[in-house]
């Protein structure tokens, strides 16, 4: 099949994607057909190609490679994993270049124009929580990147497929049997992965920023009762800075921005094990008048 090209909007980024891999392009269209730009000249932030190597691996135990601006920054992946490779590759492109934003390793969800930031390391449950909240009507800004504009202190939206891993796949299916999920990739470097399609409402509003209003540090703990506790602001500063990809690079600007976020929002830790209860508790939080922090068990 000859190379085809799609131009997509991923939040503030315009991405060109070229490939001759029909399965990959079909999956890409399934997830992002509402974000595809029409024909015409475009200025691209990232010009990506997903291609097969010019070796035996083109056909034998076929592989694909991620190429950005003529550079191949990663090892090849099995051809059947083209879509997750593209998603992780685009994350890498953004994380290594988009330093006009302060980039938080966080899920970000909006209720109207007020945003809840869910920072966390892998395994904290931030992506699964972001997925569950979006399935219950919250606007998905991102499951992975909190992109904060330091000048305006708002978060830009970049709703993308949410990569659910291993046990969280079944957790989301149990939570919402109608959730629109893409193909299953059983053997990625992060285990079994399946992506939740971003909802159309979130994609339609990806030009609409949101103002940080809640900062919640999630921690998944199997079998534990949900517990939402106010967090000391100095500790919130420490943890938010730790979860900022480019904190050191941005220096004083990041210091001031983290301080401002922590000062202007309500800060919590949140332990959870059950998505229904977790979503109910976080949504209830968004209905509590600002300043009335509650110890919820």
């Amino acid at each position: 099949m000859p190379n085809q090209r799609l131009i997509l909007d991923a939040g503030p980024f315009r991405v060109g994607v070229r490939s001759s891999d029909a399965a990959f392009l079909d999956t890409l269209s399934y997830f992002y057909r509402d974000s595809v730009c029409g024909d015409g000249p475009h200025v691209l932030d990232y010009d990506i190609e997903i291609l097969r190597p010019r070796s035996l691996r083109r056909w034998v135990r076929a592989q694909v490679q991620f190429e950005i601006d003529g550079i191949r920054p990663f090892d090849p992946h099995p051809a059947e994993n083209a879509f997750p490779m593209y998603e992780w590759g685009l994350n890498w492109c953004i994380a290594t270049s988009a330093h006009r934003y302060m980039m938080l390793h966080a899920g970000t969800i909006a209720f109207g124009d007020l945003a809840m930031i869910l920072p966390g390391t892998p395994g904290s449950g931030k992506s699964t929580l972001s997925a569950a909240l979006s399935l219950r009507g919250a606007r998905l800004l991102s499951d992975e990147f909190g992109l904060l504009r330091p000048d305006s202190m708002d978060l830009v939206a970049m709703p993308r497929g949410i990569p659910l891993k291993n046990a969280s796949i079944d957790a989301i299916i149990e939570f919402d049997g109608a959730a629109q999920l893409g193909p299953t990739y059983p053997k990625t470097r992060k285990g079994k992965v399946r992506h939740l399609r971003p909802d159309r409402a979130s994609l339609a509003q990806q030009c609409r920023p949101a103002v940080p209003h809640w900062l919640v540090f999630p921690k998944y703990r199997a079998g534990e009762q949900e517990s939402l506790k106010p967090l000391d602001k100095a500790e919130a500063f420490r943890q938010l800075a730790f979860n900022c990809f480019n904190y050191k690079l941005l220096g004083a600007g990041a210091f001031r921005a983290v301080a401002q976020v922590v000062r202007q929002v309500d800060c919590y830790t949140f332990t959870f094990s059950n998505l229904d209860r977790a979503v109910a508790q976080l949504k209830a939080l968004t209905h509590v008048p600002s300043g009335q922090q509650a110890d919820r068990k």
Binding site: D232, K233, A234, F237, R238, A241, Y247, K248, G251, A252, F255, R256, A259
Partner: protein, 87 residues
């Protein structure tokens, strides 16, 4: 004291950003008080202890706590020793 440090004060802690190193430090009240005392004027250890004590006479334990906090700030390069005129 490291010049041009940025400070954010919270009820029990002060967060300090040192632009010269790019490091962020979390200091409790005593180190924060020491930094405030040394913000614009170098002081001897004796002067520092006297100013922090105010009208209260400090015991050995309290003085040692000040010295320990000063050592930690020096290790973090937020303060530095200068030779005294008598050296």
């Amino acid at each position: 004291m490291a010049t041009d440090c940025l400070f954010e004060e919270f009820p029990d802690d002060v967060v300090v950003f040192d632009p010269s190193t790019g490091e962020t430090h979390f200091v409790t009240q005593l180190p924060a008080l020491i930094l405030a005392e040394l913000d614009t004027t170098p002081r001897s250890v004796a002067e520092l202890i006297e100013r922090l004590a105010g009208p209260v006479e400090l015991g050995e334990t309290e003085e040692q706590q000040i010295l320990d906090a000063l050592s930690r700030l020096e290790a973090a390069e937020l303060v530095e020793s200068e030779p005294s005129e008598s050296d």
